[in-house]
Symmetry: C2
Subunit: 444 residues, 2 copies
């Protein structure tokens, strides 16, 4: 394993982002060897990560920078200034996204977009969307400091309300439905009110939509939110796609009975049947080839008291896979095998699907670019699915997308203990930078 093997090649003497007085033109045409050795400023990136963590900091060492909160607004203002200092023009679009733009040298090319989000769950950690957001800012600053002007126009997006429904990125894909605007968020505001607070306009949300094919590509750097890279000692995850998700409510009907007077061999115990089902779900998902996952996260027994045999159990079944067909196949296998549980336990199973999120494969050409960039930087990398949803999933409806993962220590996510080592954040930013440069240079 070669974690941390990458040596930071610092660009000595460059000033911070607050002094954007660099002779950009002088560097604009540099390519080749110089570009290949370009890296972000690890110290500056670490400082901006620490600075962002102050917006909405809580006593637990995490953040409560929920979408539409005061901390969210203030942090966006700060980031907009950083991007402006790096030579980008900034605006809040109709969907509350902070969009920063910088022209390229070839106005006939479509924009290269990259970014992430800075809102958190309540009691969240300091890495989730932050790593990709601040790395995007750092890439902008690095380009500015190095005087690099890309061929493609650049767009940096800090999407609104990722944690509460990916509102900003889904609005670009025209996927936000009217009813969602009335959903109350952790900020206390509805999504509609929240978008207004950020500077968007929920009444004109339809106009936030981007044309399919209007972007050259979209790249998002993110923490893995699992422990695959961390446990196996890889530096970089090359994301094969964002998994699709289906969720079912499963009801197991037996017969409620007295736990003292009903002999073991005369029970129709919904709890026992549900238990066998949970085990079946785990084994079936685990034994099938592939990286699909299946989870029972909630289970409720009725009447739910120690001295009554439960007559009904309801539970949730969630299956995720890169392929929607894979989800369907696993579900069918589980459903079919549940019939023998029902028979032996004299119970009945019923399934009600209540949630579907389509899988979003990433572009294979971008995957190859990410792999090359990592290799060029001496970083170890492996292909992996993204088990969690991301803004890139929405943008995949418009454009070829790619995602870069960096390790999450212990896989902890959405908690103050969430952590990614500074070196890994730097690695991710450098892979983002070089993937962008590679795509910029030759197209996909």
């Amino acid at each position: 394993m070669n974690r941390q093997r990458f040596v930071q090649l610092s660009i000595g003497g460059l000033a911070g982002v607050h002094s954007p007085t660099w002779p950009l033109a002088a560097w604009g045409s540099l390519t080749g060897p110089f570009r290949q050795e370009l890296t972000v400023d690890a110290g500056r990136l670490a400082r901006s990560m620490r600075m962002l963590a102050t917006f909405g900091a809580n006593d637990a060492g995490g953040i409560d920078r929920v979408a539409f909160s005061e901390a969210n607004v203030e942090a966006l203002d700060w980031i907009a200034r950083l991007l402006s200092d790096a030579g980008f023009s900034t605006e809040i679009d109709l969907a509350g996204n902070l969009i920063a733009r910088k022209a390229g040298t070839d106005s006939s090319l479509l924009p290269l977009m990259f970014g992430s989000h800075i809102d958190s769950v309540p009691g969240g950690g300091n890495y989730d969307g932050q790593v990709g957001s601040m790395s995007s800012v750092e890439v902008a600053a690095t380009f500015a400091a190095a005087g690099i002007v890309t061929r493609h126009p650049l767009e940096i997006a800090i999407f609104s309300n990722e944690e509460g429904g990916k509102t900003g990125s889904r609005a670009l894909a025209g996927e936000v439905e009217a009813f969602e605007l009335d959903i109350e968020t952790a900020s206390g505001l509805t999504i509609g009110e929240g978008l207004k607070r950020l500077g968007g306009d929920p009444d004109r949300l339809g106009d936030a939509r981007r044309e399919r094919g209007s972007l050259a590509a979209f790249l998002e750097l993110h923490i893995e939110q699992g422990a695959v890279l961390d446990a196996d000692g890889f530096d970089i995850g090359i994301v094969e796609g964002i998994v699709g998700i289906m969720r079912w409510n499963v009801t197991v009907d037996g017969v409620t009975n007295h736990a003292g007077t009903t002999p073991m061999d005369r029970r129709s115990d919904a709890m026992v049947a549900a238990a066998r089902f949970v085990d079946l779900v785990h084994r079936t998902a685990r034994e099938a080839p592939g990286r699909q996952v299946a989870t029972v996260g909630r289970l409720t027994a009725e009447p739910g008291v120690p001295n009554v045999i439960p007559g009904r159990v309801t539970l949730t079944l969630e299956i995720r896979d890169l392929s929607m067909d894979g989800i369907e196949r696993l579900y069918e296998a589980i459903r079919e095998r549940s019939e023998s549980i029902a028979e032996e336990s004299r119970t009945a199973f019923s399934f009600d699907r209540f949630y579907t999120s389509r899988a979003a494969p990433t572009d294979e050409r971008i995957q190859a670019r990410v792999a090359s960039a990592a290799a060029g930087l001496g970083l170890s990398a492996r292909a992996m699915p993204s088990g969690a949803g991301h803004d890139a999933q929405s943008i995949a409806l418009l454009a070829p997308v790619g995602m870069i993962f960096v390790p999450s220590i212990g896989g902890i996510s959405h908690a103050p203990e969430e952590h990614t080592a500074p070196g890994d954040v730097t690695n991710g930013a450098n892979v983002l930078l070089h993937t962008l440069l590679a795509i910029d240079e030759t197209g996909l």
Copy 2:
């Protein structure tokens, strides 16, 4: 099977219980052939069952005659009048029990006590404690009508608050603890307030205690509250004892993780471990020899959402057996086997016992009397445990006890659909009557 084979031998021309003007003395000395053919008045018993069902009747066809309610008080008044009409003196004792007494012909003998309870759970049915209570009243009326005076003094007890903690019967055994008086019951009153309402005196509850050895025997007729007799076509259950109960809170600790980003083979899924445990409990209890039962009635996963692998599951384990050693053995087998579940699923189990109810074996001599009485009446009978708790369990601390079960259709209990056929109620009352007569005649 010979359900319903018993032919009611009616005593023609006897008046109802409201006209207790029979020449008791004239019949008092009859024994032998006449006594052997004596039976209760099935029609009168059915009428009094229907009348009792009017106290606290609800729209669902069941009753809300919870302990200490107005319906409870009124029904007790009505029963006291019936017992008075049958020649018994009645009082409410310090523990709110309706106690009816009638002298025997031999004042040196200890009283023979029988009875049950008339309080219900909220939304209860019309058979639970009613069958034993009204059958006891019917036995009293039958004795009165037949002019039978027993050798032993008779005591009929309608115990207070059976459903809310067997307060009345446990008070006779000196088992009620002070804190219980402050427990709020379904009536809205605390147990202490409720006892006062019935006419008891919670401040002097200690004086309600009976001496150990102060009763010749206690008999209780009850519905089986399961479906053993009903399913197998037996008329009468000869209760071998009231099972002991132990309950544990079981905690399964795994690791909370993202359901999308944590591969199947890297999970410490507390739900999967708990599910295997539930199956283990069921199989272990079922495969062991004996009539022990084990139940998981409640299970809660944390955090309990569809997209998070539960890091902690808490569940209840209940084991019942006629032998406390049997409970301990089954628990140890389950606990030991749970260790391999913990190992394979990378979780940890902990057990916290929070409830123990001692088993109460019935007197084998009384079991034999019940068997003889059933046989003499041409009824089929089988020995069986009582899986539920009963007032007889409390009285077992004072005296030899016996219990007689009659079938519950479909095993339904504590619900409006609870039902026992009128013929089975009559059978139970006749077995009660003849068991009492047999014990009265020759002692245990």
